[in-house]
Amino acid sequence: MSKKLFFVLSIFLVASFVMSACGSATPTPATAATINVCMVTDSGGIGDKSFNDLTWSGVERGIADFGVSGNYLQSTQPTDFAPNLTACKDSGAQLIVCVGFMMADDCKKAATENPEIYYAGVDMGGFELANFRGVSAKMEESSYLAGYLAAGMSTTGKVGWYVGIMGPAVQIFGDGYYYGVQKYNEVHGTTVAVIGYDANNPGNATATGSWIDADKGRTVGQSQMDEGVDIILPVNGGVGSATAAVMQEKGLGYIFGVDQDWTQTYPQYSAQILASLLKKVDVHIYDAIERLTTNTWEGGDFVLTLDNGGTALAYNSAITIPDDLKTEIEGLQAQIISGEIVIPAPKPIQ
């Protein structure tokens, strides 16, 4: 009796470990590829409809265009990072992709210890290692445009912002947004306020403290709306999209999508998505794979800007935005690219 039971139990356990640990989605192509790409997700995981998915789509394009093979390992918590990076190395990968600034230390350590393997990081950079390509994105540029747009579209004069966990990679969203709103106030003589972020005091930004607790994203959004906020930029991956649920319920308010075009990723909320701040990290990963296959690898960072199309503000065509406002934003974009508008450097987080 108990033998049978333990057999069943162990099958269950093994199955669940396999399922939770490695969701290897793409089988190795039949043509035995020489270059093996292995990606380690952060705790948001594949399916976050945000940068994990986007990075993976870059790998998938690499698979399609250069015939490399690729797979990914899911991390559910920060303690998974180092073991997953080691597992990638042991699987014989030539290029290991690290996702998320939470993984920066582990990734840097792995890249230092294994100089013969190439590493590419998303949301991290500045390592100065020959075998590492990082990425940085001037998200403050598109956030600036978003702030201006939010200030122009707000009917209550209050716009909101919140983050999952504060860090340099997400702070620039807040800075751009904040200064964009200030710019609108300066141009139009209004007093639109940013709730949840002050560029002079980034350490006190409103945070949900989680990248997975979607219900928290909804209730933080609700708390901001109770204070009169009607447009929110949530920098919280998929958790942020949950704010659209409470807006849908109330029938008012807009959010901005982050990283990907959320009218595509969350079609059920598209009436609430004013615009999306695109962060095309797939461009960087694709570029890294291309460099590896064509022997043009260089250590350093790939910078996504408004100029090279690595970041952009994508409007939701279903929402009417006054033409004047669009024209003003186009003007700002040109001024940012030309360097006429300089967004102040981030203040230290205390």
Binding site: M1, S2, L5, L9, F12, L13, A15, S16, F17, V18, M19, S20, A21, G23, A25, G45, I46, G47, D48, K49, D53, Q74, T76, I165, M166, I195, G196, D198, N201, G203, N204, A205, T206, A207, G209, S210, I212, D213, A214, D215, K216, G217, R218, T219, V220, Q222, S223, Q224, D226, E227, G238, S241, A242, A245, Q248, E249, Q264, P267, Q268, Q350
Partner: protein
């Protein structure tokens, strides 16, 4: 060797301590009062005003916002703290001391809110409404725990049952509608409850291990299915269940402040109230409840008196699973209208803490859930006010408050005596 002299000295010291022990909380209360009076009030202009806005929607009768002088309010709070402290030193509150400590805690929180919102406004009603919403999964999860533990089965699989419920709710809800989604969540919870029951009752597997297995299995399986199927853009329709819209209860929701806080929510909030009342009555006022509890306290005695221990425990596990599955459906059908990986985010474990903290009592679980919800809601409000505490520290606040209340106010809680012990019928 202790000489009689030494003994005498020790006696005197102990006597002194026991005589003046009541002074310690009293002095602490007065320190709190001084802190509010000297530190908080200092940075406030004499004519600064604090606004607590009271209206968050139009269902309730609209009343004017509460606007008051910040300094006056802080002085009042400091005065109350000092008064309670003096009374404690002079007379002592004796048995009521733990609720007085709770009241002081409440006053401090209120003080910070008044101080933080000085010169601006804060939605008081909104804060408490969010408190109620955030308490739902915790309270329902704790009720699930109470159901099984009162019959002597430790159920740490609540988290796993919840995530399975959230998943089933979202998928079946997308295909067949919201109500079918709820039914599916309850059924999947019942199924997992049955698995837990079979393992821990029939096969006497350690209940913690069985529960952990269900947690790992459900998290893994739902994540796997999500990645494999739901994430595909062609299958997006399988994860677009939508969610239950709020329903304002006639009359009750019209009451200013109270109405929007408690009576203008969706199905899950009302279900939480209902389940708390139902379980309080069922467990403590019915024959069924007496039998149920006796199995958890002293199964052998219950067995001798003709209560079927195994059947009671099976039923308890399945019911527990049903409640947990329903609570899980809150995440998808009651909140965001879709499933996300690991979206229960540890609520099931916090629910277990709430169960212990609420002393295995439905009303206690509700209070614990509300306390946790309040702490979270307060944290968000404080950060919106640019409260000068780093966000990371602020985010720990719910846990700190819970720990303090657990240790300081509630004191020792005692679970069912036979909790976690498999029952074996003695063979003759």
């Amino acid at each position: 060797m202790e000489t009689p002299m030494q003994n005498e000295k020790i006696k005197i010291i102990l006597n002194y301590l026991s005589n003046y022990r009541q002074h310690i909380p009293g002095v602490f209360f007065i320190l709190v009062a001084l802190f509010i009076k000297l530190v908080l009030t200092k940075s406030i202009e004499p004519e600064a005003l604090t606004t607590f806005s009271t209206n968050i929607n139009h269902t309730a009768i609209q009343i004017p916002n509460w606007v008051f002088n910040t300094r006056f309010a802080l002085d009042l709070i400091a005065g109350l703290c000092a008064g309670l402290g003096l009374y404690q030193i002079i007379r002592g509150f004796k048995k009521g001391i733990s609720s007085i400590i709770g009241a002081i805690g409440g006053l401090v929180v209120l003080g910070f809110l008044v101080w933080g919102a000085s010169g601006t406004s804060i939605s008081f009603t909104g804060m408490l409404a969010v408190m109620v919403i955030r308490s739902v999964p915790i309270t329902i999860g704790a009720l699930a725990g109470i159901l099984s533990e009162r019959a002597g089965i430790v159920n740490i699989a609540i988290e796993g049952m919840m995530i399975a419920g959230a998943f089933a709710g979202a998928v079946i809800g997308s295909i067949l509608g919201l109500w079918a989604g709820i039914l599916a969540a309850i059924l999947i919870g019942a199924l997992l409850g049955l698995v837990h029951a079979v393992l821990s009752i029939k096969y006497k597997v350690d209940q913690i291990i069985s529960g952990t297995m269900i947690n790992i299995f459900s998290t893994g399986l739902t994540s796997y299915l999500f990645i494999k199927f739901l994430q595909d853009s062609q299958n997006q329709w399988l994860n677009e269940s939508g969610f239950f819209k709020p329903y304002a209860i006639p009359l009750l929701s019209k009451i200013p402040v109270i109405g929007p806080i408690f009576f203008d929510h969706n199905l899950f909030i009302y279900a939480m109230y209902f389940l708390v009342i139902l379980l309080s009555i069922a467990l403590f006022k019915t024959k069924w409840g007496l039998r149920h509890r006796s199995v958890g306290e002293h199964p052998k005695a219950a067995d001798t008196l003709g209560v079927n221990v195994f059947r009671t425990r099976y039923l308890a596990c399945v019911l527990s699973g049903m409640v947990a599955g329903f609570g899980g459906a809150y995440f998808s059908l009651g909140s965001v209208g879709r499933f996300e990986q690991t979206m229960t985010a540890g609520r099931g474990f916090i629910a277990l803490a709430a169960m212990i903290f609420g002393n295995w009592n439905p009303l206690g679980a509700l209070q614990a859930g509300m306390l946790f919800g309040f702490a979270e809601s307060l944290t968000t409000k404080l950060s919106l006010l640019q409260f000068p505490i780093p966000a990371e520290v602020l985010l720990m606040l719910p846990y700190i408050i819970t720990m303090v209340v657990l240790a300081g106010v509630v004191g020792r809680s005692r679970g069912p005596a036979a909790d976690g012990i498999p029952y074996e019928k003695e063979s003759l």
